[in-house]
Subunit: 131 residues, 2 copies
């Protein structure tokens, strides 16, 4: 499903993810922009933990097939060209579909409102339910 | 030079540009995110007027070859994968190279600081000097 690799894959993520994922920071000047921009690559089946962003996050999906779920809502399947607006303080997770890599650009908006708050793993059972 | 079209081309821009360009708004919820995200496609030789953003702007170049110039500095040639951080109140322009379409994602950061300020066209002479 991969059609392009425009931005670098970056470094392997070491915490708060299940499975292999990589992040490349593209812009991290919070003082001037109050935002962070990065490229995230999820291996098939990988996903981040349940979490929220106090200032919100916008995802721009660029290749493969992914999943996005807000707490208490159905999973959404994501493909290249999809845009996800995650409002401040909405608990959610995102990751790759079981048989596809998934790449999205991410924008942490209002980044000065500070860090991600993590709520623990999306279990295999939770992830499988949604497939 | 075009390798991909992930996001829609959108509508033709009607002011403050020379030549044909198109913009598709991808996220425009300033109340929740204090940011706007959009996809811009420049036809060969097209460019926007000199302008500034009071809250800054970040460009993520996705295809073709483009130009970026800050007032008083040399032009920079842009290609897919390049990221441009345009700090608040820096007067600049961007557009396509003479013989290539150019596509970038744009993020208007700190969008609540309000609109673009326009300073008039980049003349053919100014543009040609930089080629």
């Amino acid at each position: 499903m991969r059609t392009t690799e425009i931005f670098p894959k970056g470094q392997k993520v070491t915490g708060n993810f299940i499975g292999d994922a990589w992040v490349e920071m593209l812009s991290n000047d919070v003082a001037n922009f109050d935002a962070m921009v990065y490229n995230v690559t999820f291996s098939p089946g990988s996903r981040n933990y349940w979490h929220l962003h106090p200032g919100g996050q916008i995802l721009l999906c660029t290749s493969g097939e992914g999943y996005y779920q807000e707490k208490g809502k159905p999973v959404q399947v994501l493909k290249a060209g999809d845009v996800v607006e995650i409002k401040p303080n909405v608990v959610h997770w995102h990751g790759a579909a079981p048989h596809s890599e998934f790449v999205h650009l991410g924008i942490t908006t209002q980044a000065s409102k500070n860090a991600v708050v993590w709520y623990g793993p999306v279990s295999d059972e939770e992830y499988a339910e949604k497939s």
